[in-house]
């Protein structure tokens, strides 16, 4: 028997707290919360891919596509409505992901990592050399509207914040359900041994493909939110170090639960903010050291700390993952 799933309840509670929080938080904190969530959304995609054993070193590709979709939607299509813009970005991620996914689902391990890196660097190369797309300076984004109503700056901030929180909650729940669906479980089986899974009558390619497309869509959504939040996009969103950051966060949080992405993102952003402030010359040493320490001592990420002593309560599948990773 599967234990009672507490995740939906936790999502509702966390979202409510965050929504209420907006009225309490200082402005910089609510800005940071949106940043954390936007990045975490991309990381959710990275985690979905990681569960099938693929590490994408090019998730910045879709992050960037999402951001530019918002900007171009405003400038070319004259759309300013926040929901239409976000939908547009997700559609762009979906289209790009489903086309490239056909190619990418053929690759595994380090070749997948390197190929995805190449793709994102190609986009970076194109964007940073195209004058009409703003070159390396990027593009600006004007404040979004809601159902055609123009908003004051403070109202727009509230709108972005609320939309982000609610969308993140929906995505988290959807991906959580996906991970616990037959296709989601098949991901882990594929990671263990692709050939055996094939003998059992499943199509590993289908598993990789659907994971890839899901990852692209959520990454595009994350990019779109970042674009709206900062009011600016630039080609650096597709640069490899940005993609590296997403993997970093994914490892930090762990891959055993969707919410781990949010935990990882929050810790990462906090460490970076304080490391930058306290030791501006050594923040990379701190980040790099933390990364290596986590890989050495917490291979299942920070999320495994929250599971301490709860092992009997988790489902059989979680234990399978535990055992595999500890070997």
């Amino acid at each position: 028997m599967r234990a009672f799933d507490k995740t939906p309840l936790a999502i509702v509670v966390a979202t409510t707290l965050l929504l209420v929080g907006f009225f309490v938080f200082p402005a910089w904190l609510s800005l940071m919360v949106v940043t954390i969530i936007a990045k975490a959304l991309v990381v959710v995609g990275v985690v979905v891919l990681m569960r099938s054993g693929l590490v994408s070193f090019g998730q910045g590709l879709y992050y960037c596509i999402g951001g530019y979709a918002v900007s171009l939607g405003e400038q070319v299509l004259q759309i300013t409505d926040i929901f239409v813009l976000l939908a547009l970005a997700m559609a762009a991620g979906l289209v790009a992901g489903s086309i490239l996914g056909l190619l990418m689902s053929r690759y595994r391990e380090i070749f997948f990592a390197m190929f995805s890196l190449a793709l994102s660097m190609i986009l970076y190369g194109i964007l940073s050399r195209t004058q009409s797309l703003g070159s390396t300076d990027g593009l600006n984004i004007v404040q979004p509207t809601l159902f055609g109503i123009k908003l004051a700056t403070q109202q727009a901030k509230l709108l972005i914040y609320f939309t982000t929180c609610v969308l993140a909650a929906l995505v988290t729940y959807a991906v959580h359900r996906y991970i616990r669906s037959p296709l989601g479980y098949a991901s882990m089986a594929v990671r263990d041994n692709e050939i055996r899974v094939e003998y059992l009558g499943l199509a590993p390619k289908k598993v990789f493909y659907s994971n890839y497309v899901i990852a692209s869509v959520v990454a595009a959504l994350g990019g779109a939110i970042t674009a709206l939040n900062y009011g600016h996009v630039q080609p650096d969103m597709a640069y490899w170090s940005q993609s590296g950051e997403f993997i970093f966060i994914a490892l930090m949080g762990g891959t055993s639960h969707v919410a781990a992405a949010f935990l990882g993102s929050a810790v990462f952003e906090t460490i970076r903010t304080y490391a930058l402030e306290l030791a501006p010359d050594a923040w990379r040493v701190i980040l790099g050291g933390v990364l290596i320490a986590i890989i050495c001592f917490l291979p299942k990420g920070l999320w495994s700390l929250t599971q301490f002593g709860k092992r009997s309560g988790s489902s059989d599948w979680d234990r399978v993952v535990d055992e595999k990773d500890s070997t």
Partner: protein, 299 residues
């Protein structure tokens, strides 16, 4: 005609530089199965070392100017060798047998750490060490003027390739290395001291990376962030050629070097695009690169 010639020579110069950077990277991967992101840091360390040494050398007028080449190259190799040794002994040996992708991330962490260490030692200002660059003069080929230092890079790359080939194919240690590259488990079973080989390979690979940095220092401004730019280029080369294969790195470097030179001359906007475009095209048809190392199927 001279246009094509200039593309060819430009391409070969760039390819030589790419090959020297990538040779160490691919060697380390072949032997240790570690795709070493910190290779970019070794490159940067080599460049900074060379720039400092050249600066020091040319402050002593009594020394013969041509000696600067030796000081620069040997200094870079030595410092890279030591940095590689420290990295392998200090961190990587504790992480043997981890997943390849995990090792990419570990070395990514090392890259971040080295970035700041380099800034700590050399500061954030740019270093210029251009004296050796103009020392060899220049040559007109067709209507285009080439700096001899750049042309000499082609020769250096040739020497590096020849030495690598010779030591891998004709020496006892090289044959041991090839045994490990081809089949690590059997090599261990036959009593090869893998631990020592790993240490040596990593140090030599790092030394090669530093050599590449040292040699390019006179031609560029040595800035922070140098290593980060280089590493993804080197990745493109070794993945195109086939991870772990030195011949592959050579072919990959030539392919990418020529493609980039063609782009720079014909369609400058596509410079960055073309490097990864070549890699993507090769991977699309040969998913594991041009020269593939066999890997066992896990059943």
């Amino acid at each position: 005609m001279s246009f094509l010639l200039s593309i060819l020579i430009d391409g070969l110069i760039y390819a030589s530089w790419l090959f020297i950077v990538s040779a160490g990277l691919t060697l380390i991967y072949g032997v240790m199965r570690v795709l070493n992101m910190a290779h970019g840091s070794f490159y940067a360390i080599g460049a900074y070392t060379a720039a400092s040494l050249v600066g020091w050398y040319f402050n002593h007028d009594e020394l013969p100017a041509f000696g600067s080449f030796a000081v620069m190259a040997l200094g870079a190799i030595a410092v890279g060798f030591v940095a590689g040794l420290v990295t392998e002994r200090g961190v990587l040996r504790f992480l043997r047998g981890r997943d390849e992708v995990v090792m990419v991330l570990v070395t990514f962490g090392l890259l971040l750490v080295y970035e700041d260490l380099i800034k700590f030692i050399w500061g954030v200002q740019s270093y210029y060490a251009s004296q050796p660059y103009s020392l060899l003069g220049s040559t007109d080929i067709g209507e285009i003027n080439f700096v001899n230092y750049d042309l000499a890079m082609i020769g250096v790359a040739g020497v590096v390739a020849a030495v690598l080939w010779w030591s891998l194919n004709r020496t006892r240690q090289g044959k041991l290395l090839r045994a490990v590259i081809n089949d690590r488990e059997n090599a261990v079973a036959l009593g090869i001291n893998v631990n020592r080989l790993f240490m040596a390979t990593f140090a030599i690979g790092a030394g090669l990376g530093a050599l590449a940095g040292g040699l390019s220092a006179p031609a560029i401004a040595v800035n922070p962030g140098l290593g980060v730019e280089v590493i993804v280029l080197a990745f493109a080369v070794v993945v195109t050629g086939g991870l772990g294969s030195v011949e592959g790195a050579l072919i990959g470097a030539v392919l990418i070097g020529l493609a980039r030179a063609a782009a720079v001359n014909l369609w400058p906007e596509a410079e960055l695009f073309v490097i990864y475009g070549v890699m993507a095209c090769v991977l699309a048809f040969r998913p594991r690169g041009l020269f593939v190392l066999d890997s066992a199927r896990k059943i």
